[in-house]
C-alpha cells in the first residue's frame, strides 16, 4: 500500500498508481487541510497529478527524487511558469 495516513498527513511511498487516484481524491475531499509527505514517492500517475493540481494541498515534504520534485513544483506552485534553472530549492 503506497499510502499511509498519520495525523491529517498522507505519506505516499513509491508509486501512486492510476487506481490510487480515486482514494487520493477521496482523502483530500475529506481532509481539506490534509498535508502530503511525498519524500519516498518515486512516481505518481497523471490522474493523481490532476487531483493534486485541483486540490492544491499543502506539501509537507517534496519527493526526494529531484526530477519528480521539479515536475511537481512546476505543477503545484502557484506561479504558472517555473524556471528550473532559477529554482534554488532543490
Amino acid at each position: 500500500m503506497p499510502i499511509e495516513v498519520s495525523d491529517n498527513q498522507l505519506v505516499v511511498r513509491e508509486l501512486l498508481s492510476v487506481e490510487d487516484a480515486e482514494s487520493l481524491l477521496d482523502w483530500l475531499i475529506q481532509h481539506p487541510r490534509g498535508r502530503l509527505d511525498l519524500t519516498d514517492c518515486t512516481h505518481l500517475h497523471a490522474a493523481n497529478l490532476q487531483v493534486l493540481m485541483a486540490a492544491r494541498p499543502k506539501i509537507a515534504a517534496w519527493p526526494s527524487r529531484d526530477a519528480l520534485a521539479d515536475w511537481l513544483r512546476a505543477a503545484l506552485i502557484q506561479e504558472d511558469t517555473t524556471h528550473v534553472q532559477d529554482d534554488s530549492g532543490g
Binding site: 497523471a46 497529478l49 512546476a74 504558472d80 511558469t81 528550473v84
Partner: protein, 824 residues
C-alpha cells in the same frame, strides 16, 4: 538446434500444410464461403512471415512478405482470387517449405544456416507474387524503410514570422538561456502535449511519458479547463496540458510520442525565433507585410506539379542505397531542381544549388541537396515550413492556454514519422517455453522403446528364477512370492509398453494431408477433374507404419489418377459425371488399420490383364485359361507388370504395384484389390496398429530355437510321416481337403540335420500363409508364443534376408526371428 528455431520449424511446417489446405479449399469454395477462408489464409501467411522475421532468413521473409501483401489484397477484394494466383502461392509455399527443410537439416548451433543460395529464386518468386498485384495499389516493400523519407524533419528552419505568441510567456531569463544554448549549438525543441481526455482508459500515463524525457529547460503544467470543486472532479478525465522546452532533437521526440502523434506538437527552435519574437508577437499578421513570392503569378495547378516534382526529388535523394551511378543520379536531381527554380522565377545561379550539388557529389550522398531543399522557401512545400508552427500562433495564451488548435507535428510526414518501427534485436535468447505439447526427438522415444524392451526381457527372467527357487533350492514360499511380484511388474511393464506405444502413434492425416495438393496438381496436369474425398484422417497407427505408408499411397493415388480415372470427355461419353471421385479413407478394425483408396474410374479389365501378363511371360497358356477374373486382376501385383499403354511421366516410372505390395508387406501389412470394369477400383490396405511388439511362436529345429511372427502363422499341425507325399518333386500333404506343399526348415536354413518326429512318428508342421497361398514348414517342435521386441539384425547379419530380426529372451538367450516370406 535452439528450442526457438526448432519450434519455428515445426510450427512453420504446420502453417505451410494449413496454407496449402486452405488454398485448395478456396478453389472449391462458393462465393460466400471464400471470405472467411481468405481471412484465415491471410492470417496464416502473416503469422508465418512474422515468425520468420525472428531469424536471419531474408529469402524466406521476402517471399512470405510478398505473399502476405498479395493475400491482404485478395482479402480486401483488390485482387481477385484465381487458380493462377493459387498456383503462384503454392509455388511460393513450396519454396518456403524447401528452406525450412534445408534449415532443419543444416543448423547445428541454434542459428539457421545461410539460405542466400536461394536469393535469386526468392527475388523471382517475390516479384511474381507482386506482379499479380500490379494493377492494384502497390504496398511499400519492407526493404524500403518507411522512415527513410522523413529524416529531414529536424532541420531548423523556422523563421521569425512562424513562432507565435507563446514565446511571450517565457521569462526574460529563460529566453536568455535559450539564446545561449542555441548559440552553443544545442538543438532545442518546444513540445506541447495535450493528452486526450480518455487517455487513462487506454493505459496511458502522460506524466510518466514526460518524466522519461531529459530534464526540460522550461516547463509549464496546466489544464484545459478551470479546476472544478474537488467533489465534482473526475480524476479519470484527463484535462492536463504540458508545455516544455527541452534540449532534445525532433526525431527523438517524435519517436518518444509515436503512440500519440496527434496529441503533441513538436517544434524545433532557432535563434531567429527568439530574436524577433517580441515583434512577431505584437504583429501576428506580419505574414501579410512580406513581399509577395516570385511565384505569385503561377496557377495553383502549376504550383502543385512543381510541389510534386520537388517531393520526387527529395524521395530520390533519400533513397537508402548508393549505387555506382549515384553521381549521375545526383546531377540529374541538380538539373531538375535548377529547372524548377527557373520556372518559379528564381535564378538558379544565386540559389546556392550549385554549391550543394558539388558538396553532394564530393560526399557521395544526397544529404547536402536535401539540406539545401530544406532551407529554400517553396510554394506550399511543407517540409520546409513546419505547419504546426502556424497552428500554434492562434491567440497567445495568457496563463492557462485554452486554445484547442492542434495540428499534428510534421504534418506532411505523419505516417513516416509514426510508422518508424522500433527496431528490435534479431533473435531472442534460447529458452524453453512452458508449452502444453511437447515435441520430442524421435531418438528419445526410440531409446524408451529399447529400454522397455529390456524391461520386458528382464521381467521375463523372473519366472525362471521362481522355478529355480523351487526346483533347485526347494523354497516354495519364495517361489510363490517371486511369482506374485512378477505379476505386479508384468502389469506395470505392459502398461508402460502401451503408454510408449501411444506416444508413437500418429494420425494418418500425417500422410493424407499431402493428397489434396498432389491430386490437384496431377489432375491439372492430366486435364482431369477430380474430387478428392478423405475420411477417417484422425485414425492412428504407429509412426513407422504411418511413415511406411507414404510412398505406397502416393503411388496408388497416382495410378488411380493416371490409369483409373478417365478424362471428362470419356466420362461424359460413359454417362458419368465429368468430375471423377477419389476416396481415401482410414479406419481401425481391432488391431489393424484399414486404408481404402477407391475411385469411380474405368476399372481394371481382367481380359486386358490376362493378355498383358501372357505377353510379358508372367503366366503361361494354361494359367491364361485357368485364372478367374479376380486372380487375373491380382496379376498387377506381379513383378514387372505395367498396364499403362504408354509410360506416362507420372506413374509409369517402371515402378509397378509389386513394389507397393512389397512395401506394405514389409510392415506386415496386406493389400487387397477389387475392381469392376466401368465402375471403378478399390484397394484396401490392412496394416498392424503397431510394430513395436511382435507376437511370435517359438519353434525348435536342429536343436535351435527360432521365432516366427504369429501374423504369418495360419495353424500348427502334426502330420504323420506316412501322409507326406512327393508330388512333382515336392513334399506335399493334404490338410482339410487342401493340398499343402511342405518344406523342411533345416533344408531352408541349410542345417545339416533331419527333422525330428515325435514318438508317434508325426512331424510338427507350421502352416504359414503368404498372400493367398498356404505352405507347411516342417520343424522339430512348436512351442509357446511370446511377445518380443523385434530388433533388426545389425551389421553383416542385416543382409540375411531369411530373418526379420532378433529378440532377447528372458533367460538372456537370443532368439532369431524368421521371415517366412523371404525364406521361401
Amino acid at each position: 538446434m535452439s528450442a526457438l528455431l526448432n519450434q519455428f520449424l515445426t510450427e512453420g511446417r504446420d502453417f505451410l500444410e494449413a496454407i496449402g489446405a486452405k488454398l485448395l479449399e478456396l478453389e472449391r469454395a462458393s462465393e460466400p464461403e471464400q471470405g472467411p477462408l481468405m481471412v484465415e489464409l491471410f492470417r496464416l501467411v502473416h503469422t508465418l512471415k512474422g515468425n520468420s522475421g525472428l531469424f536471419d532468413i531474408p529469402e524466406m521473409t521476402r517471399v512470405l512478405h510478398a505473399a502476405e501483401d498479395l493475400m491482404d489484397a485478395v482479402r480486401d477484394g483488390r485482387v481477385e482470387f484465381s487458380r493462377d494466383l493459387a498456383d503462384h502461392l503454392l509455388e511460393a509455399m513450396d519454396f518456403v517449405s524447401l528452406l525450412i527443410d534445408e534449415i532443419a537439416e543444416a543448423s547445428g548451433d541454434g542459428q539457421p544456416p545461410s539460405t542466400s543460395g536461394h536469393a535469386r529464386e526468392a527475388v523471382r518468386l517475390g516479384e511474381a507474387l507482386r506482379g499479380l498485384m500490379a494493377e492494384s495499389i502497390q504496398t511499400p516493400d519492407a526493404g524500403d524503410q518507411p522512415d527513410a523519407a522523413s529524416a529531414s524533419n529536424g532541420a531548423d528552419s523556422g523563421s521569425a514570422s512562424e513562432t507565435g505568441g507563446w514565446l511571450d510567456d517565457l521569462p526574460e531569463s529563460v529566453r536568455d538561456d535559450l539564446q545561449n544554448l542555441l548559440a552553443s549549438g544545442e538543438s532545442l525543441c518546444r513540445l506541447l502535449y495535450r493528452p486526450e481526455e480518455e487517455c487513462f482508459f487506454k493505459g496511458e500515463d502522460p506524466f510518466f511519458q514526460l518524466t522519461q524525457l531529459p530534464e526540460p529547460i522550461w516547463r509549464r503544467v496546466g489544464a484545459r479547463e478551470d479546476w472544478p470543486r474537488l467533489a465534482e472532479l473526475d480524476a479519470y478525465r484527463c484535462v492536463l496540458e504540458f508545455e516544455l522546452i527541452l534540449s532534445t532533437d525532433v526525431e527523438t521526440l517524435i519517436e518518444h510520442f509515436r503512440y500519440v502523434p496527434d496529441q503533441v506538437e513538436i517544434q524545433p527552435l532557432s535563434a531567429s525565433m527568439l530574436d524577433t519574437s517580441v515583434s512577431t508577437a505584437t504583429e501576428p499578421d506580419s505574414d501579410e507585410s512580406e513581399p509577395p513570392p516570385p511565384w505569385a503569378g503561377l496557377s495553383p495547378e502549376a504550383l502543385e506539379s512543381i510541389r510534386l516534382a520537388l517531393e520526387a526529388q527529395r524521395e530520390i535523394l533519400t533513397l537508402g542505397d548508393s549505387p555506382a551511378w549515384l553521381g549521375g543520379r545526383l546531377r540529374a536531381v541538380g538539373s531538375t531542381l535548377a529547372a524548377i527554380l527557373t520556372s518559379l522565377g528564381r535564378d538558379p545561379a544565386t540559389s546556392g544549388l550549385g554549391t550543394a550539388l558539388e558538396a553532394a557529389l564530393a560526399t557521395d550522398s544526397g544529404t547536402y541537396l536535401v539540406r539545401w531543399l530544406d532551407h529554400q522557401t517553396w510554394p506550399e512545400a511543407k517540409p520546409a515550413a513546419p505547419e504546426p508552427v502556424r497552428a500554434a500562433i492562434v491567440t497567445p495564451a495568457p496563463s492557462h492556454p485554452t486554445t484547442t488548435a492542434s495540428a499534428p507535428t510534421a504534418a506532411s510526414t505523419p505516417d513516416e514519422a509514426v510508422n518508424e518501427p522500433v527496431k528490435f534485436g534479431r533473435r531472442a535468447e534460447d529458452q524453453l517455453a512452458n508449452l502444453r505439447t511437447l515435441k520430442v526427438d524421435q531418438a528419445k522415444i526410440d531409446r524408451l522403446m529399447n529400454l522397455i524392451g529390456e524391461m520386458v526381457v528382464a521381467k521375463n527372467a523372473l519366472p525362471y528364477l521362481a522355478a529355480r527357487a523351487e526346483d533347485l533350492y526347494g523354497v516354495r514360499e519364495l517361489s510363490r512370492e517371486i511369482k506374485t511380484q512378477y505379476g505386479v511388474i508384468n502389469r506395470i511393464a505392459e502398461e508402460m509398453q502401451d503408454a510408449i506405444m501411444q506416444v508413437r502413434m500418429l494420425p494418418v492425416s500425417f500422410v493424407f494431408q499431402r493428397f489434396p495438393r498432389l491430386v490437384r496438381d496431377i489432375a491439372h496436369k492430366l486435364g482431369k477433374e477430380v474430387r478428392l474425398i478423405m475420411e477417417g484422417e484422425s485414425t492412428e497407427a504407429d509412426k513407422n507404419i504411418i511413415e511406411s505408408l507414404a510412398d505406397p499411397l502416393i503411388h496408388i493415388v497416382r495410378n488411380s489418377l493416371d490409369h483409373g480415372l478417365e478424362s471428362p470427355a470419356e466420362r461424359r461419353a460413359a454417362g458419368k459425371p465429368p468430375e471423377g471421385r477419389l476416396t481415401i479413407s482410414a479406419r481401425q478394425e481391432s488391431d489393424r488399420v484399414l486404408i481404402e483408396i477407391s475411385d469411380d474410374g474405368r476399372g481394371i479389365d481382367p481380359d486386358v490383364i490376362r493378355r498383358k501378363a501372357y505377353e510379358k511371360g508372367i503366366i503361361d497358356e494354361a494359367a491364361l485359361e485357368r485364372l478367374n477374373d479376380q486372380e487375373a486382376v491380382n496379376l498387377v501385383f506381379a513383378a514387372g507388370f505395367s498396364t499403362a499403354e504408354q509410360i506416362s511421366d507420372l506413374s509409369g516410372r517402371g515402378v509397378g504395384m509389386d513394389v507397393v505390395r512389397n512395401a506394405i508387406a514389409r510392415v506386415h501389412g496386406s493389400i487387397d484389390l477389387r475392381s469392376r470394369v466401368g465402375e471403378g477400383t478399390r484397394l484396401r490396405l490392412s496394416l498392424p496398429l503397431s510394430m513395436a511388439v511382435t507376437n511370435v511362436m517359438i519353434i525348435e529345429s536342429a536343436g535351435q530355437r527360432f521365432g516366427v511372427p504369429m501374423d504369418a502363422v495360419a495353424e500348427t499341425v502334426r502330420v504323420a510321416r506316412r501322409d507326406i507325399r512327393v508330388i512333382k518333386k515336392r513334399l506335399t500333404t493334404v490338410l482339410r481337403g487342401r493340398l499343402v506343399p511342405l518344406v523342411a526348415l533345416n533344408d531352408l536354413l541349410a542345417l545339416d540335420a533331419p527333422q525330428l518326429a515325435n514318438d508317434d512318428d508325426e512331424l510338427a508342421v507350421l502352416v504359414v500363409r503368404i498372400e493367398k497361398e498356404y505352405l507347411g514348414i516342417i520343424v522339430d517342435d512348436c512351442r509357446e508364443t511370446i511377445d518380443i521386441i523385434l530388433k533388426p539384425l545389425a551389421g553383416f547379419l542385416g543382409d540375411l534376408t531369411g530373418y526379420s530380426g532378433s529378440a532377447l529372451l528372458g533367460d538372456g538367450s537370443v532368439l532369431l526371428i524368421l521371415n517366412p516370406r523371404e525364406l521361401l
